[in-house]
Symmetry: C2
Subunit: 120 residues, 2 copies
DNA sequence: CTGGGTGCTGGAGCGCGCTCCAGGTCAAGC
DNA sequence: GCTTGACCTGGAGCGCGCTCCAGCACCCAG
């Protein structure tokens, strides 16, 4: 259950530098240390890191990630606010996908055009 | 049919600086100039700029955009290569959308979790 | 007991894609 | 004729999200 920094990084698929960076800028609170000052990650820590990474990968900017991290910190009674923030992000993913599909449509029309010209 | 820089920028939805930047790095060739050295855009120029912008917005990095721009420059007989490049981009859009949908699934499960806890 | 591997910190550096700026030119309207 | 405003150039600067580095500490294997 306790993971060393390298293990944690491997499991989540980020670099140790990224983990340190996330801790430094306040995305990842409460990581314990061993006697030598090294980070020790719990399953819960990995869960949080993985979620943050998922949000980041799906386009959430760091500033907003930070607000989410604060909610994670701030008591148990804000599940509502966490859910609300994630729901907004969910909508933003929908928007982004819709936008991508529009652009893809244009790309596909251009492909058709090039393919139709191709015979000549 | 001929557009001034400001008009061109407005129509495509980019800044004049972006247009100059694109020209400078070789994305936009053959923009004519008036007697005073100012850019004059044709409908064709706007079409190319719009397509480049669409590719950029859908995630194509500048380096690849440049290769596409070279194909646009290089004769009429490379419609095949243009189409191939765009088809690869089309697949990449599909991949990105698929990835986003996976991440969205995780986000939605977390929302459900928070909402289920919420009553307590 | 020593060498290598892993980790620590603070801070500098980087890659991308613009964006801004200084200093100048030109064209049109008053 | 003079002002205003859009545009020009080369080059510096920026915001984001890491990534790398120097210099040091610790721990375990041989």
């Amino acid at each position: 259950m306790p993971y060393k920094p390298g293990e944690a990084a491997d499991r989540i698929g980020v670099s140790i530098d990224t983990i340190r960076y996330y801790e430094k800028i306040g995305l990842l609170h409460g990581i314990r240390r061993d006697s030598g000052g090294r980070r020790v990650f719990s399953d819960d820590d990995l869960g949080r890191l993985g979620l943050l990474r998922c949000l980041r990968d799906s386009g959430m900017p760091i500033a907003r990630l930070r607000r989410f991290a604060e909610l994670l910190q701030g008591g148990e009674d804000n599940a509502d606010q966490r859910a609300a923030l994630l729901e907004e992000h969910d909508r933003e993913i929908d928007d982004k996908v819709a936008q991508l599909r529009l652009e893809q449509e244009r790309v596909r029309e251009k492909i058709k055009w090039y393919r139709s010209v191709h015979g000549q």
